[in-house]
């Protein structure tokens, strides 16, 4: 169905759903909408899509601003501000410089989980998941960073066909990492195909990817694709 010309979705006013999505409702009205959404697949789908696009829009803008060229452009103003500011302890500063300093590949990986995450489970579950998206997205990012490190080590040291069990420090994320084969991409560059069975907060994903070696324990992921049939859009 087309949303742009509709006033209602599943019998509910779109503007009311938007107010819910954008956190404009009071606690009680929120709870009422949530009760309705549990039973209303159409409206709940709208909410899921809208929130997903919020998150994707944000990521898409951040990723464009995190390229090497963009950072080069941003450097003069950053420097100006560094000079103008009073000295801030390094620890605090790290907190304020958040997302945009993350490597592109981490952004790409979070998109993948974001995209595929929406297609696991039933509609009502999707909605439950959706509610906690922001908090989860942060946890995901941490988990992904940790997983990326583990992947680097596995690709560096583990022979093809061997399954490596990995678990994050907080125990929230588990993965089975399996290098499948090693390829040579000219000029002494090595790439490896690998499979990952990731379990994050009770959600499971099977991914297959190719990474190429940049330096010791540094691998750059070129492709990473979901394997589950149910993940297809």
């Amino acid at each position: 169905m087309k949303f742009v010309d509709s006033r209602q979705v599943g019998g509910i006013e779109i503007e009311l759903l938007n107010s819910y999505i954008d956190g404009q409702l009071e606690h009680r009205s929120r709870a009422e909408i949530e009760e309705i959404l549990r039973l209303n697949a159409e409206a709940s789908n709208y909410v899921v899509q809208a929130k997903k696009l919020n998150a994707l829009t944000r990521l898409s803008l951040d990723s464009a601003l995190a390229t090497p060229d963009a950072r080069e452009l941003q450097a003069p103003l950053n420097r100006r501000l560094d000079h103008a500011q009073p000295e801030i302890p390094a620890a605090e500063r790290r907190v304020s410089r958040a997302f945009w300093e993350r490597p592109l590949i981490a952004i790409a990986a979070s998109v993948l989980l974001l995209l595929s995450g929406y297609h696991l489970g039933t509609l009502s579950l999707e909605y439950e998941v959706e509610r906690q998206l922001t908090a989860r997205e942060q946890q995901r990012v941490h988990a992904l960073d940790a997983l990326a490190e583990a992947r680097n080590r596995v690709l560096e040291y583990i022979p093809s066909g061997t399954i490596h069990d990995w678990s994050s420090g907080d125990g929230l994320t588990q993965a089975k990492l399996t290098p499948i084969r090693t390829l040579r991409a000219g000029d002494n560059q090595y790439c490896r195909e690998f499979q990952e069975h990731v379990s994050f907060q009770g959600r499971e994903e099977l991914l297959r990817g190719i990474s190429c070696r940049v330096a010791k324990e540094q691998w750059r992921t070129r492709f990473i694709l979901p394997q589950n049939e149910s993940l297809k859009m």
Binding site: V4, E15, D22, S60, L65, L77, L81, Q85, W100, A109
Partner: protein, 163 residues
Amino acid sequence: MREEWSAQFAECLPKLRRFAYGLCGSVVMAEDLAQEAFTRLLATDGEQHEYLERWLFRTVRNLYIDQIRKLNVQERYQESIGALHGSLPVTADRSENLIALEHIRELIAQLPREQREVLLLVGVEGYSYREASEILNLPLGTITSRLARARGKLIDAYAEQLS
């Protein structure tokens, strides 16, 4: 005092850049807008310090509108975007996910500016409807109706792209 504004500015700079970039679709122009906003901040003597963040968003948005009115900057920036894209590494970081993100950016760019700015402030930056109406100097009803149009279009276009 100046130091304090600079610190506050630095804190909201990532958001401000994202908003500017979302509006104009050009990394170059977004940076110009952010720089100009900073320059204006230094020239204001802090009269807006109470709502600094909102003031900055409003300034960036107004600067952007001035720019597109003034000359045919769109064209000029399209050229520089072209140049910038051309210089990006072609294979290394370009996984399929980054391409998917590029599609999203295209969809955002296709929205009319009036709808895009509301979606960016509310959907991406998390401002309340009231705050957005103050930043954009628009009635609340206009915010909600533009948001509905923008969101509806985006969801439709995204679904179409996938099918």
